[in-house]
Subunit: 238 residues, 2 copies
């Protein structure tokens, strides 16, 4: 089996993911939110690409069953319940609810991967659990970094690299050249992820907006042993 890394949402093509198992990664912060919400008992997360789709979907489920979540350009969308902060998705708010969720990059990465054999949601919070599931699937794996506005962002690469490293060492996966590069990126930075991110744009942008608690939360490794998957009806569940 081989592990490949796609560096941002727009790079995903059907040919790159077809018949393969995909793990979508958007560390800051979409996939961290999805993992946190499902850990806290949300019934499902329904990723949608546009705000209009989110509002239409919320009518379909019934507004009282739904939490509208997500961001545009890092901030809360008008009329939505929650932004893109994982810390906002507390058990008392989300248990039993359907989260209709739209973000600039993370939900697009999931949508673009829809031709894959299976799609899992990964983050630092649950990466080892996702790796075990990928390996159990017995197919080639593609780690899809969401990136930002069709650019690579280092935090997603670090998570992809941690996963590639685990898949290589634990399960003997082969690597594409980009998977190797991400593995090296991770190994060079594993001791202090924040120090490595200090020179990067997206990290500094989020930090500058005051989201240090989100950053600290999202960079915790393997605090959850859960593997959200995207089912063919378009919901993410455990």
């Amino acid at each position: 089996m081989t592990v490949d890394v796609i560096i941002y949402a727009g790079e995903v093509t059907p040919e790159r993911v077809m018949h393969k198992e995909v793990a979508v990664i958007d560390v800051f912060r979409a996939t961290s939110v999805i993992v946190e919400a499902l850990h806290n008992g949300a019934a499902s997360v329904v990723p949608v690409v546009t705000v209009e789709d989110a509002l239409a979907m919320s009518e379909k489920f019934g507004r009282e069953r739904v939490i509208l979540g997500g961001e545009r350009n890092t901030v809360l969308i008008e009329g939505f319940d929650k932004d893109n902060s994982p810390l906002a998705y507390r058990r008392e708010d989300v248990a039993g609810k359907v989260i209709i969720f739209t973000t600039t990059n993370g939900t697009r990465a999931i949508y673009n991967s829809r031709d894959a054999h299976a799609i899992y949601i990964s983050s630092f919070l649950n990466l080892t659990a996702v790796c075990r599931t990928l390996a159990a699937g017995g197919r080639d794996a593609v780690l899809v970094c969401a990136g930002r506005n069709d650019r690579f962002t280092a935090e997603d690469g670090l998570c992809a690299g941690a996963m590639a490293d685990f898949l290589v060492k634990q399960y003997g996966y082969g690597t594409t050249d980009m998977a190797q590069v991400m593995q090296e990126l991770y190994l060079g930075a594993a001791g202090d992820l924040k120090a490595r991110l200090a020179t990067t744009y997206h990290y500094q942008d989020i930090l500058g907006r005051g989201y240090i608690d989100d950053i600290n939360f999202c960079l915790q490794r393997d605090i959850y042993d859960i593997v959200p998957y995207y089912d063919p009806t378009g919901s993410i569940k455990l």
Copy 2:
């Protein structure tokens, strides 16, 4: 000024390169061939995307003034004079000639970059000269790796990383996250490029086809102080 890295030809968009200075990199072997042919006195290199375009262009220039060069799937094209080996472009063969050149990835990387402010041809053979020209241009730089069949290949990343490292340290360029990653890739491998490439697919493929002399040639750093540029008429010249 900022340096960005694009990881393969298909990733180039007008928005990524417009108003910027581009250096196209296809270490194995298209840009190494172009640099070698111009160093050896070729009048120009005309990159074309298809074999049909190459034949039509050769009629336009007159067949006797032209050398038809390039490859499809690493091998000589039927009816062409030379393949994609830089060692085949000797002074006695190419001096004064127009090289009509088509390759699977390198010429596509050049063509896709045509909206840039300026396009230079880079390789290990001349990377420092290209960096000096980029810096003199005073604009943001984009290092376009050709890659292979819309996949990243490590040898192009190593050359991009060497250039990013020079631009950062010598001229104080800022870096995108991918430029940083390529810089790190290069710094981790600079002592022995072939050892780093030993686990990569494209390198092994070329090695397996018997092109060790080409590999050794293409990995020589800064043996030439020349900067080929792609002019608006579609020719590459010094």
